[in-house]
Symmetry: C2
Subunit: 269 residues, 2 copies
DNA sequence: TACAGCTGTATCGCCAAGCAATACATTTAG
DNA sequence: CTAAATGTATTGCTTGGCGATACAGCTGTA
């Protein structure tokens, strides 16, 4: 019986189909609290967290209290608001070191560095995006180009296109249609049909080539990592500056190296 | 009234002082489930997770179910056991990008790379350990030397000693006494008094120098990052191979660069 | 081929853990 | 000086989480 005295009970019960007897709401809420920082650009107050996690201030208080006692949230240095806690980085380490693809990709990528001075990244496939797992910087990079965990859209990046090109056409199309095709630069290709053509080309070439579509002035080559069934697990990508390279020179001198590395990794899956 | 029918209720109620009315047990248990992977060396079964998180199989089932639906746990590729999920890397990204020290350290470290070809790391201070947050590889590295989130003891590493040297003596001593001083190599210094002397030297020199104590054949220089109150927030460290460098040459050519970088960062706090 | 011991999955009734509401002392913003 | 934030603390109600238990599907082994 719905109780009119409880104004919140009518409202969405924090995601998840109601009749999931195994779903632990408090656990999910704790994660939502941590995820509140996904669209933050600085410390969050309890009220901010409550709003972003879609819970009331009481719940936020309890959850933040709990997470803080576990080191997964901390107070900001100036004692205004909360920030993600350092213990979260322990999970990072687990995620990376236990990932079979990262395990075999690491030494291969490390080896690549010897023959290449451009930025080399390895990222993991997550449908509409790829997530940076290993990063090897070149000389000048930006802040975000150095952080692990950064994710970028599949539809307009070299690593993303590489993974999409390994999917059945229908599936790639579904992902492109699902994701909001934001115009990141003036040259971002946001036409689904045209993107599909680029995927077809990438499939033929064995690598994806993207210029100016996500970051202006950047050219990148991406090669997918596949399991035995041919499904994409991640991608190796190499990024260079258009002020130093012509597109042709860049792809000619980097694509074969990336492809060879990918072959070495694919052999394990 | 204690109920003898509930065998688990007598036992430690999943950490945390009982009379903490704000503590949300299910939330903490969810975190414990994720932390179960800290001492795993491969996929874990439900039973494994239950054991490591110190909960029963039912709780593990529910929590894993919940975390899996949120992408924080996934099935392993061969469908045997569970692994940390990719969504955890989103929290990594938040932790790093929202950390004020990482924000200002990143460009400085990037800049350092131009004048140095050795491995440069930036790590965050967490009392008995420092956690790698930014990593710039040199040529040959090992698997663990490339992963973000990896943590190493403060007592026997360059970054760790650097941070300890910035603490009041009593506090540094307390941390050293608290942490189990494991003999990582034949040359690891596990004598508290002797370590304290090394800290004193690091304080005078303005940098910590460690050779062969954590990884054989490695020499490293560490410099602390401090806030306005002089408390350590993290450290910059540079590691080199003893097969290429004498200890003196290494410290002479790297320490000043690290110190200058640290000064640039410290100015912001 | 049966069996023992694993997996992961599913169900259920009980009750205390988690809940929302509320109050409040401080600090910040206007 | 007020108004609206901040974080903190308490309480009584009730539903969400709990542990126990059962089971189907593998895997290896005797």
């Amino acid at each position: 019986m719905p109780d009119p005295k409880r104004p919140h009970s009518s409202v969405a019960s924090n995601f998840q189909a109601d009749a999931d007897r195994l779903f632990v709401r408090s656990a999910a809420r704790a994660i939502h609290v941590l995820s509140a920082f996904h669209d933050a650009d600085g410390p969050l107050s309890l009220t901010d967290i409550a709003a972003k996690a879609e819970i009331d201030r009481s719940a936020a208080q309890r959850l933040v209290h709990t997470l803080m006692s576990l080191g997964h949230i901390r107070r900001s240095a100036d004692d205004r608001g909360y920030l993600p806690g350092l213990r979260l980085l322990d999970h990072t380490h687990d995620t990376l070191r236990l990932d079979p693809v990262v395990q075999v990709a690491t030494p291969v990528i490390l080896e690549m560095r010897k023959s290449l001075s451009e930025r080399i990244d390895f990222s993991l496939y997550d449908e509409t995006r790829v997530i940076y797992a290993l990063r090897m910087q070149s000389k000048r990079e930006t802040f975000y180009a150095t952080l692990v965990g950064h994710s970028v859209p599949t539809f307009c990046t070299a690593g993303g296109r590489a993974t999409l090109s390994a999917l059945p056409v229908a599936e790639a199309r579904e992902i492109i249609d699902r994701f909001p095709l934001h115009q990141y630069t003036s040259q971002t290709n946001i036409d689904p049909d045209s993107i599909m053509e680029r995927l077809e080309k990438a499939r033929r070439d064995g690598f994806a080539l993207v210029e100016n579509e996500f970051v202006m002035g950047e050219v990148a080559v991406g090669v997918p990592i596949l399991n035995r069934q041919g499904r994409p697990l991640g991608a190796i990508h190499i990024a260079g500056s258009l002020s130093e390279w012509s597109v042709e020179d860049f792809s000619r001198s980097t694509a074969p190296i990336a492809q060879e590395a990918a072959r070495a990794i694919n052999a394990s899956f």
